[in-house]
């Protein structure tokens, strides 16, 4: 990256806290990109120096975001869990702000029109997913972490299996059950419309 990432991230975060929506538009891809790359390297087990650099970026973002002292990374599992939580916070915040700007504070949906490459996709109400996920975490924290990593941080199930150090079959089972559970929960409690 040509620009100095921590500085840029710092500025963007400040902007965001001050209510600048555009700052978030830029922050999101930045953090997301780094997180994805980091997960990728984790899986490939290559270029540790790069990993370190990426980690620093997300680390920085996290600190600025929650205004806390540096957390002690216990493990990569811990690191990814925190990073995914960060993504979740950013996305939910994003959806709330954008949703609020729409007529009557309608649904917080993420939409998709032109991105043919992504395949067809129903709109998803991120805030509903967030609420349902909070409920799920009470029953099964691991499952909730898997959803966080998959849906909010965009990791593949294989990457998740690496990151959480659990068998791929277990990740798959948890993911399947979580999707069914969340879908039911969201259908039972339609918040909007």
């Amino acid at each position: 990256m040509e620009r100095d990432p921590p500085n840029e991230v710092t500025l963007l975060l400040q902007g965001w806290r001050n209510g600048d929506r555009k700052a978030l538009d830029t922050l999101l891809p930045l953090v997301y990109k780094e997180l994805r790359r980091l997960a990728h390297f984790q899986l490939q087990r290559e270029r540790p120096d790069h990993t370190l650099q990426s980690a620093a970026l997300v680390h920085e973002a996290y600190l600025r975001l929650i205004g806390l002292n540096p957390p002690q990374w216990e493990s990569r599992t811990h690191f990814f869990a925190i990073a995914a939580q960060l993504m979740r916070q950013i996305l939910v915040d994003y959806a709330r702000r954008h949703g609020a700007a729409k007529r009557g504070g309608g649904a917080h949906k993420l939409c998709l029109e032109d991105a043919t490459a992504l395949g067809r996709q129903n709109d998803v109400d991120v805030v509903s997913v967030d609420d349902a996920l909070t409920a799920l975490a009470k029953i099964d924290p691991r499952q909730s972490r898997i959803v966080e990593l998959r849906f909010f941080a965009g990791l593949s199930l294989q990457e998740i299996s690496e990151v959480l150090e659990i068998a791929p079959a277990t990740v798959q089972r948890d993911w399947t059950a979580a999707r069914a559970w969340l879908h039911r929960e969201i259908s039972r409690n339609p918040r909007h419309e």
Binding site: R21, K33, D114, V129, F152
Partner: protein, 769 residues
């Protein structure tokens, strides 16, 4: 719910989902025992699982968000813009938002109103917008959605008003209606016509893709309507995925349909051929069901890597995307009203050529205009030769068909011969001046042929084997003139390479030169000279020059019996070749006799399951078939095929050959169904193992065409025959089509007459190459 219980629930859920829905109830009976609550929970989750489908949470939230990043509501609060009342948002994306709107005056009608994303407008973009709206208004073509109006809201938000097209995208429509390939082409041609019209008005679309081509039915017939013409120009920051954000501000295009020149960063010179490329990508999807490049994969790799691929790599031809197995292949074929295998053979050939010409990375190689592309599609539909293939058959052949198959083989062969030669020589002429000279000559020659032609034509190290071969053949006469023995040997080897490529005229010429040089250098009865003559005989046979072949083979056989001995494998080989020639000349009795002699010798010398023994069994069956001794032929060929399958497996030339010959015999026995089965299987294997443009593949297609015509499947038969002629059918067979008894029912059919004439032209062209 406690966690232990939830774990149990998850396990039962997973197990139940693995079962077919009919078996679940029984499973739940046993798994949940009497625990009604547990069972109700699992059943409820199964229902949710099914309701969620495959899409729920399938795309990560950041990806979704980035796909429409930064858009906020652009419509004014009262939902009124000028004469238009906004009714319903139809969609939004990187370009802005589209609304279904009602025009209130002067006429009441539904329109589509597009609010162009304002944030990206600078004053120059606004100026462009103003001039563009003029040109958009002058387009008038049934394939283009009409642009009625354009303007800006009081706070400067630009918008377009277009015809509202309540239709599905062209790909969705074609799949829903299960349009067959010709129907898809008809529709595609209309799209090309529309784009051509726009180009004549100096408007380039720049973002053609299925989502921008909607289909409506007018009088029950599908009509495409292209939307969003010219809107992409200088207006849109496209967001393709996380990586592409770095490029916000410069328009890229949609992944999969974006042309290589759009991928060339900094290159602003997009022209009408950019649209031709996108049309090629759309055609690719309409035909094969997938995009030229895997955009799924693109999302996982960095942007610059995707762009590099687009600039530097050729996508595989569409026919290779469909495959013949698998569920998605079946769905793709079904949506085209056909079977996977038929779809592959339908696409292979002309449609591959047409699509690939439109997708050329170099614009100069593409169709210059959409109407040229449309014209080639029309030619295909009329069974006429397509330009794509005529113009670039040689160019393409190097690029796709030969590159992998013979590349290593030819270069390796040439090198091996030279090395073997120099080693042999150095043993004989240890450290003499002559040896050093020879080594130098070899080195020089090898270096020479690797310096291929015009450096401007080369990209990287992608020199093809065919180029090396041509270059070598060109230089052999002068390059090794000082060493005629080596020269004759190399000419022979190169001739064999051309023979393997089915380029018989070139092979023949090299063999003849080699023989001439060889006779002068080492004598008429030198082993090498005689072997070259043997190969020349086979080449003449392949060209259908049977009398010449027979005379030469008889002479060679004489010499070989004398010089090599009657049991030498080459002598037996020539006997076999002679038998094939005689059989083709209808001198079957002698052919049968020869083959039986050879077979007897080989069985005792080589063994009953040796490769050459099996070849002869195969040959003998063919002769018996020609003689009408069908029962004996069938028995022998089945025996041969069984051994082949057991000893060498399905994907061996010998096995395929037996399979085809057995197909011939079954066909002659009137067992058309069995014959069709054998031919189809052989054709599938050949297409896969040899490639589509091989003489062998073409010949099998020809045989299959015979059976299809006899079974009354005229259309399929003609199309296959045409494919065979265009894709490597040998001159011998080309010339035989007219007299082929299986095609008698086609006499008087103008399509057949045209095909016969075309085949004759091809035959003379092939013999002249």
């Amino acid at each position: 719910m406690n966690s232990e219980r939830w774990d149990r629930t998850k396990q039962i859920l997973e197990e139940a989902l693995r079962l077919a829905s009919g078996q679940r109830s029984a499973y739940l009976d046993s798994a949940c025992d009497a625990d009604r609550e547990l069972r109700a929970e699992v059943e409820s989750l199964i229902a949710s699982h099914e309701a969620a489908g495959s899409q729920f949470l399938a795309v990560a939230a950041p990806d979704l968000l980035l796909a429409c990043s930064g858009d906020s509501d652009m419509a004014p609060l009262n939902h009124v813009i000028g004469h238009y009342r906004l009714v319903e948002e139809l969609g939004r994306g990187g370009m802005g938002q589209v609304w279904l709107a009602e025009q209130m005056e002067p006429v009441r009608r539904d329109v589509a109103l597009k609010l162009v994303k304002g944030g990206m407008f600078d004053s120059s973009a606004l100026e462009r917008f103003q001039s563009e709206r003029q040109s958009l208004a002058i387009m008038d073509h049934p394939s283009i959605a009409k642009v009625f109006d354009a303007g800006a809201t009081p706070d400067g938000q630009p918008y377009f008003v277009m015809e509202y097209v309540p239709g599905a995208s062209i790909t969705e429509y074609c799949d829903q209606k299960k349009l067959k390939i010709p129907e898809r082409l008809e529709l595609f041609i209309k799209v090309c016509d529309g784009v051509q019209h726009a180009h004549q008005k100096a408007i380039i679309h720049r973002d053609l893709k299925p989502a921008n081509i909607l289909v409506v039915e007018v009088d029950g017939k599908p009509v495409p309507r292209i939307i969003d013409f010219g809107l992409a120009k200088g207006v849109t920051p496209y967001v393709l995925g996380e990586a592409q954000c770095t490029l916000a501000g410069s328009f890229l295009g949609t992944p999969g349909y974006m042309s290589p020149e759009q991928a060339d960063s900094g290159a602003q010179d997009v022209d009408t051929r950019t649209d031709v490329y996108a049309l090629g990508a759309i055609l690719y999807v309409l035909l094969s069901g997938s995009l030229p490049f895997e955009t799924e994969k693109w999302r996982k790799q960095p942007l610059h890597e995707n762009l590099r691929q687009l600039r530097e790599e050729d996508p595989p031809p569409p026919s290779t995307k469909t495959g013949t197995q698998g569920e998605s292949t079946k769905t793709t074929a079904e949506a085209r009203g056909t079977e996977p295998k038929q779809l592959v053979s339908l696409l292979r050939g002309d449609l591959d050529w047409i699509t690939m010409k439109a997708l050329e990375r170099d614009r100069v190689q593409r169709y210059a205009t959409p109407s040229e592309l449309a014209a080639d599609c029309r030619r295909y539909l009329r069974h006429e030769p397509v330009q794509a293939r005529q113009a670039s058959v040689f160019y393409r052949m190097q690029k796709y068909v030969r590159r992998h198959r013979i590349g290593v083989a030819v270069v390796g062969m040439l090198a091996a011969v030279l090395v073997a030669f120099s080693v042999a020589q150095s043993v004989q002429l240890r450290r003499t001046t002559r040896e050093r000279n020879r080594a130098d000559r070899i080195a020089q020659f090898m270096t020479g042929i690797f310096k291929v032609s015009d450096p401007n034509e080369r990209v990287g190290n992608s020199v093809t084997a065919r180029e090396i071969l041509d270059k070598a053949a060109q230089e052999i006469e002068t390059g090794l003139a000082e060493d005629p023995e080596l020269q004759a040997r190399m000419m022979h080897e190169m001739g064999k390479a051309y023979l393997n490529l089915g380029l018989y005229a070139r092979a023949q010429s090299l063999f003849e030169k080699s023989i001439k040089v060889g006779i002068a250098a080492v004598g008429e009865e030198n082993r090498e000279t005689v072997l070259t003559e043997q190969d020349l005989g086979w080449t003449l046979f392949q060209q259908g020059r049977l009398v010449e072949a027979e005379n030469l083979e008889r002479r060679v056989l004489d010499t070989q019996r004398r010089v090599f001995g009657p049991g030498d494998q080459y002598t037996l080989g020539t006997m076999g070749n002679l038998a094939s020639t005689l059989c083709e000349e209808n001198k079957c009795a002698e052919a049968e006799q020869l083959n039986r002699e050879v077979l007897q010798q080989q069985k005792s010398l080589l063994g009953p399951e040796a490769h050459y023994t099996l070849v002869t069994m195969d040959n003998l069956s063919v002769v018996l078939d020609h003689e009408g001794k069908l029962a004996e032929a069938e028995k022998l060929e089945r025996e041969t095929l069984d051994i082949q399958l057991r000893v060498s497996g399905l994907e061996k030339l010998g096995t395929i050959s037996s399979m085809i010959n057995l197909g011939d015999i079954e066909r002659d026995l009137g067992h058309d169904e069995e014959a069709e089965k054998l031919y189809r299987q052989a054709l599938e294997v050949e297409g896969r193992v040899l490639g589509p443009d091989q003489p062998e593949t073409a010949e099998t297609a020809y045989s299959l065409a015979c059976v299809l015509v006899r079974r009354g499947q005229i259309e399929a038969g003609l199309s296959l025959l045409r494919q065979a002629v265009d894709h490597g059918l040998q001159a011998r067979a080309d010339l035989g089509i007219e007299k082929e008894p299986y095609f008698e029912s086609l006499h008087g059919d103008p399509r057949f007459a045209a095909l016969v004439a075309h085949a004759k032209e091809r035959a003379s062209a092939r013999n002249a190459n």
